[in-house]
């Protein structure tokens, strides 16, 4: 099973100078768990902000989300993989970097994201089809 | 001089058995459309004959010879009273076991006449009546467990096909028991009093049972859909076969027991296996009451009648 088969193509973006509050609002409205942070300028790279970041670095510390900028808690750079990568390999990477999602990129373009949930669902579907057809 | 009264009485009781107890055997098979009603009736009659021919002797001996010393008067009165009681209670749709009525009547008549009653034999019979429903319950539980471990593992449509065959087998078993146990109980007295030859009695008895089922088939059909048939085919088989096996065992021991009560035991056994906590206490009370009163009632009536005639 390849990464491209189970990835979620719906990627939501946010500006790096937006507030964490904006990020939370976007995540709730769009029902997603991570946002890709756009680079500030040409020298900057893409990053990601996740629910984990918000909870452990803002909520837990009792900080005001309105006052924290997204770029302060963004993880950079994005961990990218090729769309043809095998799922076993993807899982190993996620374990190695201790991340819950990994991005599928092709020549600087983000094609989609593979989360733990996608891996789990994909493996179940593979089991259901096992012995029948691909 | 052949006294026709006991023979006629037997015929009437046999007719009753046909109209009431056929659905014990056929209900689930006909309800599941495994076999059509007409064919089922003849299958039923056939296996009743086989049952009484092959194993009827033992129960016949117990009822006709071992309980008490039979004589013509005892036979006549007890069978006549039994026939009336059975017909009346069927008319009023009261659940009554022919075994209990007959044994009660025989004992009552015997006691009134002053013949010695083999208490040992009688006690064995009473014990069988008490134990058999529980035996059926136990056998059904065991059978259900076995089915869970074997039949359940098969693919679905195979289970369906096998179940159809199994249900037919258990229906045949109940029909066989109706001959070997129930009909044998009725015929035992007249055979052992020398009124009629065993072979003829078995044949005529089976025919009368079949007649009863055919003539009153609307009654049979009425009861289809209740009792076991209310269960799903899977549970129904466990209940019916457990009951049938139990009655078969008691028949081999020569003990007359009621298939109907055993089936109730079987159904309860399946209910327990499925973990159904609610037991219908009111139903159990009704059954226990009938179980106690029936033989007592027939005993008293015969006793009173004979003593009454004696006074005159």
């Amino acid at each position: 099973m390849k990464a491209e088969e189970i990835m979620n193509k719906r990627i939501e973006y946010i500006e790096s100078d937006a507030t964490v509050y904006d990020a939370i609002e976007k995540m709730v409205d769009r029902r997603i768990r991570s946002l890709v942070v756009r680079p500030k300028d040409e020298k900057d790279v893409y990053g990601v902000i996740t629910g984990r970041d918000i909870v452990f670095r803002v909520v837990y510390k009792n900080l005001d989300p309105n006052k924290i900028k997204v770029e302060e808690i963004t993880s950079k750079p994005l961990v990218c993989i090729d769309k043809d990568m095998d799922i076993e390999h993807v899982i190993k990477l996620m374990e190695k970097f201790n991340i819950a999602r990994i991005f599928v990129c092709e020549q600087k373009k983000i094609l989609g994201v593979v989360s733990l949930f996608d891996v789990m669902a994909g493996s179940l579907i593979k089991r259901a089809r096992r012995g029948h057809f691909a | 001089m052949i006294n026709p009264i006991p023979i006629i009485a037997c015929g009437l009781i046999a007719l009753s058995i046909g109209s009431n107890d056929t659905s014990n055997a056929l209900g689930i098979c006909v309800g599941c459309e495994i076999i059509r009603f007409r064919k089922a009736l003849f299958l039923f009659g056939f296996f009743v004959l086989i049952g009484i021919t092959m194993q009827g002797g033992r129960v016949m001996r117990t009822v006709g010879k071992e309980i008490l010393e039979i004589n013509l008067y005892i036979v006549s009165i007890s069978l006549l009273v039994s026939a009336i009681l059975v017909i009346v209670s069927n008319w009023w749709r009261l659940p009554v076991s022919t075994h209990q009525v007959i044994i009660g009547s025989l004992t009552g008549s015997g006691m009134a006449f002053g013949v010695s009653i083999n208490l040992d034999s009688l006690l064995k019979i009473l014990l069988s009546w008490a134990i058999s429903p529980f035996g059926a319950l136990l056998l059904s539980i065991i059978l259900y467990r076995i089915m869970e471990k074997t039949l359940s593992k098969l693919p679905f449509f195979q289970i369906e096909r096998i179940l159809k065959v199994l249900l037919l087998i258990s229906s045949v078993l109940i029909a066989y028991n109706t001959g070997a146990n129930e009909l044998a109980t009725v015929l035992g007295p007249i055979i052992h009093s020398g009124l009629i030859d065993q072979g003829w009695a078995s044949l005529m008895g089976s025919l009368f049972v079949l007649f009863g089922a055919v003539l009153l088939s609307h009654r049979v059909i009425e009861t289809i859909g209740k009792g076991i048939t209310a269960l799903d085919p899977y549970s129904g088989f466990a209940a019916q076969f457990g009951a049938g096996a139990c009655v078969f065992l008691f028949t081999s021991l020569g003990m007359p027991v009621s298939t109907t009560y055993c089936i109730i035991g079987g159904i309860s056994g399946v209910g327990i296996s499925k973990g159904i906590g609610t037991v219908r206490i009111d139903l159990i009370k009704k059954i226990a009451l009938s179980w106690l009163l029936t033989p007592l009632f027939s005993f008293l009536i015969c006793f009173i009648i004979i003593k009454g005639f004696g006074m005159i």
Partner: protein, 208 residues
């Protein structure tokens, strides 16, 4: 009669083959639908109508066979219900096909619809596998769960799709209604396949 019992199951076998064929028709309908949208081929979409008709004929055959005496009476209502759900699903594909031929979709909507149609097809395929598993005695639970996973994914796409469509302008009431009905029918197919899969489970446990 006895022959029927021991060697038979012949009429049951026929019904089983027909049910399998019926499910295959559902799969074909979904596949035709998806390919037609991908290629923007409205003529190809008409193939769905033929499949729906074929499905109807088979369904009627199955139901009459069942009431002619296939299977224990205890099982018949569940099996009939299963066939009717599959038939309803095929009807929905037909409805969506009809509405597609009468509407124009923008690219973003079209992409989402292709995703949904693709997942519908995958759901059907797993449902067929599930039915075959029922026949062979394999466990159905994983297949049932896989179908539910797809259904939830489709629900997510549906939610966003409808949100986005609400902002779209339509030239007339009927144009809007056509698009709305199209989306409604397209997204409901997966609900029915999920229902059918649940019914398969019900049938599976009814004799154990």
């Amino acid at each position: 009669m006895l022959k029927r019992l021991f060697f038979g199951g012949k009429i049951e076998q026929e019904v089983i083959e027909k049910i399998k064929r019926h499910i295959e028709i559902l799969c074909s309908a979904c596949e035709t639908f998806k390919t037609a949208i991908e290629k923007r081929d409205k003529k190809m979409m008409l193939g769905v109508f033929d499949l729906e008709r074929e499905g109807d004929i088979i369904r009627r055959n199955i139901i009459s066979n069942i009431y002619e005496g296939a299977f224990l009476p205890f099982l018949r209502p569940s099996i009939c219900k299963l066939v009717e759900i599959v038939d309803d699903a095929i009807d929905l594909v037909e409805d969506a096909a009809f509405e597609y031929t009468d509407s124009e979709l923008d690219n973003e909507t079209k992409d989402d619809c292709i995703k949904i149609a693709d997942m519908n097809l995958k759901m059907c395929e797993i449902f067929l596998i599930a039915f075959e598993s029922l026949l062979s005695g394999e466990d159905l639970r994983e297949k049932n769960l896989a179908i539910r996973i797809y259904e939830k994914k489709i629900d997510e796409i549906k939610f966003d799709l409808i949100k986005r469509l609400k902002t779209k302008e339509v030239k007339s009431f009927w144009e809007g209604k056509m698009i709305s009905d199209f989306i409604y029918h397209l997204t409901n197919i997966s609900d029915l396949i999920e229902d059918a899969s649940d019914y398969l489970q019900i049938i599976n446990v009814s004799l154990r």
